[in-house]
């Protein structure tokens, strides 16, 4: 099953691994298959728009080619939720309009996550009249630790509340997130010790009702060195050109660490989650984000 046949991809990973860049690249790759795609950021973040030549964040979609960009915040999602559930409109206004109850809701762990996830689920299952019908939503999720909390928030809220609108909303979201046909989790990681360690912790913590779609191993370095002679070159350069020897040594050390943790990642994923693909994408010049995303998208065609 192609990743792009799902309805929702939740991209997670430690800060700095390229989560937003890969979210953008996956959207671009999925868009090229003819699908209508929306990339969503949460909590007022706006890391995706610069990848498409835009700045800032908007709750309503902005379209670039076949891709829509949206940046959600909890207050906007709450207001949207109130408008949508018209029958509840008056009552919700009562709850959210009260200083006391809204301060309480802000303090409820997971509430803000839940209302934003509710919007994502709405986009896919019951878009408003003027909203496009998306084949795929790519959610640029929060950093790993919080990523699990986010995914668990719907279940936690649905368990905590016995009935009523929050219960119904959270139960619907929990079902959607645990449907292996509709939703897949895609962690992004780097071929370095700490990010790989965190990724394996995330995968181990996903639980039976979460589907791991793929793992993306970002920033893989391949200097294209010949298959033999490295030690001899190292020795020769140490005598004749020490600065070149330093370059070779640090590059080889980097490749050694990379191969080691890459192997550890692949075998551990196999053991934890079975035959889940690990897609390697190369380290490319990061200083031109638009070109970077386009080139990564080429590597992600057909995933």
């Amino acid at each position: 099953m192609s990743l792009f046949d799902r309805r929702l991809l939740v991209i997670t990973g430690k800060g700095g691994v390229g989560r937003s860049t890969l979210s953008g690249a996956l959207a671009l790759a999925a868009g090229r298959t003819g699908r209508r795609v929306c990339v969503v950021e949460l909590a007022g973040l706006a890391a995706i728009p610069p990848l498409f030549g835009l700045t800032g964040r908007t709750y309503e979609p902005r379209t670039v080619g076949r891709i829509d960009l949206r940046g959600l915040t909890a207050p906007e999602a709450v207001a949207d939720f109130g408008r949508r559930k018209l029958a509840m409109g008056g009552l919700l206004r009562l709850v959210f309009g009260s200083r006391i109850t809204s301060a309480f809701l802000d303090a409820v762990p997971g509430f803000q996550d839940l209302v934003q996830l509710g919007k994502v689920e709405n986009l896919l299952t019951e878009p408003r009249e003027h909203e496009p019908r998306y084949d795929l939503v790519i959610l640029d999720g929060p950093a790993t630790g919080h990523g699990l909390t986010l995914l668990a928030s719907a279940r936690a809220m649905s368990d905590m509340t016995g009935g009523g609108p929050f219960h119904d909303l959270s139960a619907i979201i929990a079902r959607f997130l645990s449907d292996p046909v509709k939703t897949a989790i895609v962690p992004v990681t780097l071929p370095e010790e700490l990010p790989v360690h965190e990724t394996l912790e995330l995968v181990a913590g996903l639980g039976a009702d979460r589907t791991l779609g793929a793992v993306i191993l970002n920033q893989w370095v391949d200097p294209g060195f010949p298959t033999s002679g490295a030690d001899e070159v190292q020795t020769a350069l140490a005598r004749s050109a020490p600065d070149w020897a330093r370059l070779l040594r640090t590059t080889r050390e980097g490749m050694r660490v990379q191969a080691e943790v890459g192997e550890h990642l692949a075998s551990s994923i196999q053991a934890l989650a079975g035959a889940v693909p690990v897609h390697r994408v190369p380290r490319l010049d990061p200083h031109n984000p638009r070109r970077l995303v386009a080139r990564l998208a080429e590597r992600l065609e057909g995933v």
Partner: protein, 355 residues
Amino acid sequence: MTRIDLCCGLGGSGKTTTAATLGLAHAAAGRRAVVLTIDPARRLANALHLPLHGTDPTPVPLEGLGFPGTLSALMLDHTATFDAVVRRYSPDPETAERLLANRYYRAISTRLTGAHEYMAMEKLTELVEAGTWDVVVLDTPPTQHLLDFLDAPDRVQAVFDRSVFGALAEPGGGILGLATRRALALLERVAGATTMGDIREFMRLISGLSAHFRERGTQVRALLDRARYLLVLNAHAPERTDLDGFLDALSDRGRTLAGLIVTRVAAPAPAALGPAELAARIAGVPQAEAWVRALLAAREAAVAAAQLDGAAADRLGAQAGLPTWRIPDAPEAVRTLQGLATLVPNLLPLAAQSQ
């Protein structure tokens, strides 16, 4: 008076390594420094000889480095810190124990928005009050937004403010207006009576600590007013940080940035050699021609990386109109204290500045 250096930056910016290096630089400048760090990588924790659990700073063994000052380090355990606050400031031990056992407290002490930041501030205040340090270097928690920690005292205070939450502790709603009582009744219906029972008990118990939270809030704001703010950015991904937005938000809060620290700046590339010169230097190795091509390509990449990273650092410094310090890309350096010490010269002028 204890100085405070605050390292701000996104996750992955190299903030924690920078905070540790800055702490070492202060020790090199002759100060008694302490680094308060949040969730360091295991390698860095090992390099600092940092125990995984503890609520007091541990001295970092600097023997052999020849630094005139000292460095201690502490990894923030926010749950333990929150529990310690509850034990210390509850009106009586029974209240403390019931609070610690409350389900809502357990959830809120780890997951409440702002709780991590607030506990970092609680610890910062303790360290400054101790009076034994010349400088505290604070590695701020990995927040979604760079300035969340600045607003944390206000946010946490708002949660524990009796005027709002004391009301929830009173079953009948007490002095509340009709609209609020109806809203609460509705909330109870959607949230469930057990949950609300837990929350009511929590609110009643925590109100005994409200004086402490109010006083701390005032102290923390005073500390934040006189701290030196430094922004840490990764040279490989400078566009991740909205620099202008950060500067605006900081100045909205009446604070100014003292400088930028750009991390992971690529090392200088080796001096140029032509193909023939390079071939002569590695003559006789297997696959010599292929090696010449591969090495030339590797140098070209290193030249481009050094140029781009340098340009990124220059551009950021110019954009902010602020001094910029650079830390070279040295993934091996963070494995040992000696390795970290090799990065100290990059931050020594910053540490030596009078504040």
